[in-house]
């Protein structure tokens, strides 16, 4: 059902292109490991670059985003290296609340994360799977030129992964700055 929703959003994007034109955005954020156990293994977090392309549907902005997150740590017990990485493929919608020098906005993204766990330990298995996630976001946007703006966002990714028996949220809080430009 969740996959069906994402697919519908992607189908809606071309309609948006013809309706309001395109814009792109690029950001760099720091993503924390929200799950405490993963935080013990992998540490607090890692940088995550994100790239997106979007359009307008009236006041609603729709953005198709992707990025890359990788975080290495040591297993609990034998302290052998292990790496968690994922590539999200999300559709995000946000809505500017007011016009002026700073434009606050709220948004919500949803989509899939294609994640991998890679171990140096011979007793733990490598795994590559996908998980559904969603990410509420708030931010402010500062126009800096015609058709260009910078933004600061705060979001939290919820994505429960269950590669084996244990389910953990591989997402977490992200603070990011980025640049958005209309084509």
């Amino acid at each position: 059902m969740r996959k069906l929703l994402v697919i519908m959003l992607f189908l809606a994007l071309p309609a948006g292109i013809f309706a309001g034109g395109l814009f792109g955005e690029l950001s760099l954020g720091y993503r924390t490991q929200g799950d405490s156990t993963l935080r013990d293994v992998y540490g607090g977090g890692a940088l995550q670059p994100t790239l997106g392309i979007g359009t307008h549907l009236g006041k609603i902005h729709l953005v198709l985003t992707t990025g890359y997150f990788t975080n290495s740590g040591k297993t609990l017990g034998l302290e052998e290296k292990t790496t968690l990485s994922y590539i999200p493929l999300f559709v995000k919608a946000f809505y500017p609340l007011a016009k002026g020098n700073l434009h606050p906005y709220v948004g919500l993204g949803a989509g899939f994360l294609f994640y991998k766990v890679k171990n140096e330990s011979e007793g733990l298995e490598d795994v590559s799977k996908s998980a559904f996630g969603f990410e509420p976001e708030v931010g402010v946007c500062k126009p800096i030129a015609q058709g260009r703006a910078a933004f600061l966002s705060l979001s939290y990714l919820f994505a429960n992964a269950k590669p084996f028996e244990t389910t953990r949220n591989i997402g977490g809080l992200k603070v990011a700055v980025g640049f958005r430009a209309r084509f």
Partner: protein, 985 residues
């Protein structure tokens, strides 16, 4: 009318014994002629019911008048009292019971008078039907004739006997249970054969049928009930004493079409409470309890399983017999046939026999005897004890072959065990001082060889008149009988000399009554000779007899050389008599049997185990087994003494008055061998004061009942035989376990080969000897030797090894030892040899796993012997090489670690150790790591070898519930491995 005739015949049998043999024309009164004459003139008799008694009085008086003798009318009350001593307190003397005693079967064919008979014929005997004979069984013999068991109308007897196809007719005599309650018993220990082992797993008789032809069985007795199912273990009861048309064996079994008499009861009948058979005598129940009782029954608060029979899980078939030999033969066949239908082998117990001589209740015999009698008298009636007519060598043409025929018909897997008889007198025979009358000894035997010259024997004629027992008021007349069997056909002369010098001479061909004419006293008496027989066709030997009896002119009573009259007691003159037997021509070995013979009130009463006039010179105590117990195809059983007291239901201990030594032959057990010198008995078994199942149908005295009230004591070879019967069942079971069925030779081989031989047995010579046969039955030999297996395994991997280490405990493992019959084992470990200077010993040497801690290097030789309760195994040896061990690694630790990446957790046992500094003179090449599931006692598995210098090993990939214990060893460059160091988490 038929009934009247029938009763008249019975009266005849009473009267016939009262008729003195005519002095000058003895051939004129063969009893059958008289019998047939009586029958033909029966119309003049008006007898029925109890009128027979009155008519008997008339006969007595009539005969007395004819003989010019004064006879006192019978005192029936005294006679009844006397017979109760024989037949029990419930006996009532009536016309019918009197007829029954003399052998009349109490039913008729078509209203005719009918006797149970054995008829020897050429061919199949079908022609007998034309004479009204009702055929029950046909038994082919290897002697060219067929034996027919049948009901024969006496009205046809003459015609049958004149038929050339008929060789012999025996109007069968009743057998008796070979029970002896009154024989002194001895001993101290309570030893019953079955107590040698409780057969917990091995041998219970399961899969085998035990049959018994006897007085019946108390089917309600819990010793014959399977406690697991609550159902009876008795598969069939054939009650031959009561006819129930439609319920005979012939009605249920097409293979027994002629067994159309009696009443058959099945297990279902018993379980459904329909069976009405009873064992009022209790003999059969007791016998079957010994052979197959399971000891489940108890009472008076005693626990169960105290009196367990030999084969407590055998199936049971009981034939309640009417005691005619023809019925007994049918009974054997019935048991075999039923067992065969059940697909099981069978062993039949016969605790019965004729006794050494006839006892009250006998019938009469008819001999179609070729020889001098043929020309004038085609038949001969046996007025005299049957013992005379037994050749006692198994060659007879009517008794032994009929039993052997059944055995031959069924072959391997079907056996008959028989009691030897209770005619022995093992301990009293040695006292011949002559002063202690009466001797309670059995009939006696002497043997000689005429080729060695004349043979003389002497006997002391008992002064019956001067002794209170048996009560002289019973007695009517008294004789001493001698029966001869001469090898071949010699011409002999026999000279008898009385105490007063009177001489009587008879010789071959004579049938004379040599009497002492009336004259002045003293009188010695008369002697009757019958040496007229030719050689018997069945064995070529010649039979003869003589009676030493009262004077024919005996209205005089001679006592102390004075003559009194009138009176009605008669006896030969007391004192020493002499008999000389010499050959006129030819001559070889011969046997002579002697017993006293008395008659009271018309009933012949020769107590089989009592004689009052013992042979005192040239006596030979042997050859007392004379009926079909002499057959090689039967297992004949004597008795020995195992016990001398018992605790009765009245809580008193009882014993018999005189006691021979415990363990020796029972006083009453009939000695062998056979007359022709073959070994009998085959074996001896416990037979005195045997506690076994007590029939609730019988009346018991509290002293005879055992303490639990449902078992009782009895003695006799009757009790010895079922021990062997049960043992045979156990042996059969052993064969069955191996998929085989034993034959008679195999069974006898086991019984005889396993026989226990002790000083008591050896005391009579051999074995084999005439008392114990091959010895005492010892069923414990069923157990085979156990097998000892001694092993030593590596401590870690349980691999067999001969290497052990100095200073370290080695486990000696005997757990692979076994007993073929699954009896529990005991263990005995011993150290056969050890290196010089060693003081090592084996610990826990009586355990399945023993311990040896070598103290110096070298070779240790260990021996293991196991025992199954009877037998030691052959020893098993284990040679161990003790070495100085390498020291195991030090500080061996096991740490359990949970290794997780947040998504997946593996459990890891981290093993760490250190080099052992005590291995400084040894170069460790590697370490071996073993593990096994924690808590298991199994072998450890080698999971890794790591090189020297490595001191950690991770046992990874374990599950959350995987717990192990570990061992690590050090291995030097020569491959010597240290003892393990252990660790676990």
């Amino acid at each position: 009318m038929r009934t009247k005739v029938l009763l008249a015949l019975g009266v005849f049998l009473v009267a016939a014994f009262l008729v003195p043999t005519p002095k000058k024309t003895p051939k004129a009164t063969p009893a059958l002629r008289a019998l047939l004459a009586l029958y033909h003139n029966a119309g003049t008799w008006t007898l029925n019911g109890d009128q027979v008694l009155k008519v008997a009085e008339r006969i007595v008086k009539k005969r007395a008048r004819r003989a010019h003798r004064r006879m006192k009318a019978p005192n029936w009350k005294k006679l009844e009292k006397a017979l109760r001593k024989v037949y029990g307190k419930s006996f009532r003397l009536t016309g019918d019971s009197l007829l029954k005693l003399v052998g009349k079967r109490d039913y008729t064919i078509g209203g005719s008078d009918v006797y149970a008979a054995l008829i020897a014929v050429n061919g199949d005997g079908d022609f007998l039907k034309s004479y009204g004979v009702k055929i029950h069984g046909r038994y082919a013999t290897d002697k060219g004739f067929t034996l027919i068991t049948a009901d024969m109308p006496i009205s046809s007897a003459e015609k049958i006997l004149r038929d050339d196809r008929v060789r012999r007719v025996i109007v069968t005599q009743r057998m008796i249970p070979t029970l002896n309650k009154s024989v002194p018993a001895t001993g101290a220990a309570k030893i019953r054969l079955r107590q040698y082992g409780d057969f917990p797993k091995g041998y219970t008789g399961e899969g085998v049928v035990i049959g018994d032809v006897d007085t019946g069985i108390d089917w309600s007795h819990e010793d014959f009930i399977d406690p697991g199912t609550g159902k009876t273990r008795i598969k069939y009861i054939w009650d031959q004493t009561i006819d129930t048309p439609g319920q005979t064996p012939a009605d249920s079994d097409p293979d027994l079409p002629s067994f159309n008499y009696g009443t058959e009861w099945t297990a279902d009948d018993i379980d459904n409470g329909l069976c009405t058979e009873t064992d009022d005598d209790a003999h059969g129940t007791h016998v079957m309890g010994i052979a197959a009782g399971n000891g489940y029954a108890t009472g008076n608060g005693y626990h169960r399983w105290r009196y367990i029979g030999m084969a407590p899980k055998a199936d049971i078939i009981m034939v309640k017999t009417d005691w005619y030999i023809s019925s007994i033969v049918d009974g054997i066949k019935y048991i075999f046939e039923k067992a065969k239908d059940m697909g099981k082998p069978a062993v039949v117990n016969l605790s019965l026999g004729y006794g050494f001589f006839m006892e009250p209740g006998g019938g009469f015999g008819i001999c179609h005897y070729p020889g001098p009698y043929d020309s004038n008298y085609p038949y001969y009636s046996g007025l005299y004890p049957y013992g005379y007519f037994f050749p006692a060598d198994g060659t007879d043409d009517w008794l032994t072959p009929s039993v052997e025929s059944v055995i031959d018909e069924y072959g391997p897997g079907y056996f008959v065990v028989k009691a030897a008889g209770n005619d022995g007198h093992w301990n009293t025979y040695t006292d011949r001082s002559g002063g202690d009358y009466p001797y309670t000894v059995g009939a006696e035997h002497a043997q000689g060889d005429l080729s060695q010259g004349p043979f003389t024997l002497k006997w002391t004629q008992y002064d019956y008149m001067n002794h209170p027992y048996p009560p002289s008021s019973w007695l009517w007349y008294w004789e001493t009988h001698f029966a001869f069997w001469f090898e071949g056909n010699p011409s002999v002369r026999i000279t008898v000399t009385g105490p007063n010098g009177t001489t009587y001479v008879g010789q071959s061909g004579d049938y004379n009554w040599v009497w002492q004419p009336y004259g002045p006293p003293p009188y010695d008496g008369d002697v009757a000779f019958d040496l007229s027989y030719g050689p018997a066709y069945f064995n070529g030997d010649t039979f003869g007899w003589l009676d030493v009896t009262y004077s024919y002119n005996a209205w005089y009573y001679y006592y102390n050389n004075y003559m009194y009259l009138p009176y009605y007691y008669y006896q030969p003159h007391p004192g020493e008599w002499t008999m000389k037997v010499e050959a006129v021509s030819g001559g070889g070995p011969f046997d002579v049997y002697q017993h006293d013979y008395l008659m009271y009130y018309g009933i012949p009463y020769a107590v089989s185990y009592v004689t009052y006039s013992p042979i005192t010179y040239n006596y030979d105590y042997s050859k007392y087994i004379i009926d079909f117990g002499v057959s090689d195809k039967l297992i004949t059983v004597g008795s020995w003494n195992t016990k001398w007291y018992w605790l009765a239901s009245d809580n008193n201990y009882y014993t018999y008055m005189t006691q021979p030594w415990i363990g020796t032959i029972s006083e009453f057990s009939s000695p062998g061998p056979t007359r022709d010198g073959r070994q009998k008995p085959d074996i001896a078994a416990p037979g005195e004061i045997i506690i076994s199942s007590a029939s609730s149908n019988a009346v018991w005295s509290p002293s005879d009942l055992a303490e639990d009230g449902v078992h009782a004591q009895m003695s006799g070879t009757s009790m010895a035989a079922p021990h062997v019967t049960g043992a045979v069942a156990l042996i059969i079971q052993k064969y069955l376990k191996k998929g085989r069925v034993p034959n008679l030779n195999q069974i006898k081989g086991k019984i005889e080969g396993w026989a226990r031989v002790d000083l008591h047995v050896r005391g009579y010579g051999g074995p084999p000897n005439k008392g114990f046969g091959y010895g005492k039955l010892d069923v414990v030999y069923l157990k085979e030797k156990p097998v000892a297996v001694a092993q030593h395994e590596t401590e870690l991997t349980k691999v067999k090894t001969s290497v052990i280490f100095v200073g370290h405990k080695a486990l000696l493992d005997g757990s692979a030892s076994y007993d073929p019959d699954e009896f529990p084992l005991t263990y005995s470990w011993t150290l056969e040899s050890k290196p010089a200077g060693s003081s090592a010993v084996i610990d826990k040497a009586d355990q399945e796993v023993a311990e040896l801690t070598p103290d110096v290097p070298g070779t240790y030789k260990v021996k293991l012997v196991v025992n199954n309760g009877v037998w030691d195994s052959d020893p098993a040896y284990l040679t161990l090489e003790a070495r100085v061990p390498i020291n195991p690694p030090a500080n061996f630790k096991v740490e359990r670690i949970e290794n997780t990446n947040g998504f997946q957790t593996e459990y890891v046992n981290k093993l760490t150790w250190e080099a052992n500094p005590e291995n400084s003179d040894v170069k460790v090449a590697k370490y071996r790591i073993y593990r096994r599931v924690k808590g298991s006692a199994g072998a450890m598995e080698l999971i890794a070898e790591v090189s020297a210098g490595t001191y950690q090993y991770l046992d990874r990939g374990l599950g959350a519930n995987d717990y192990y214990e570990y061992a690590i060893t050090a291995v030097d460059e020569d491959g010597n491995e240290s003892l393990p160091a252990y660790g676990s988490n």
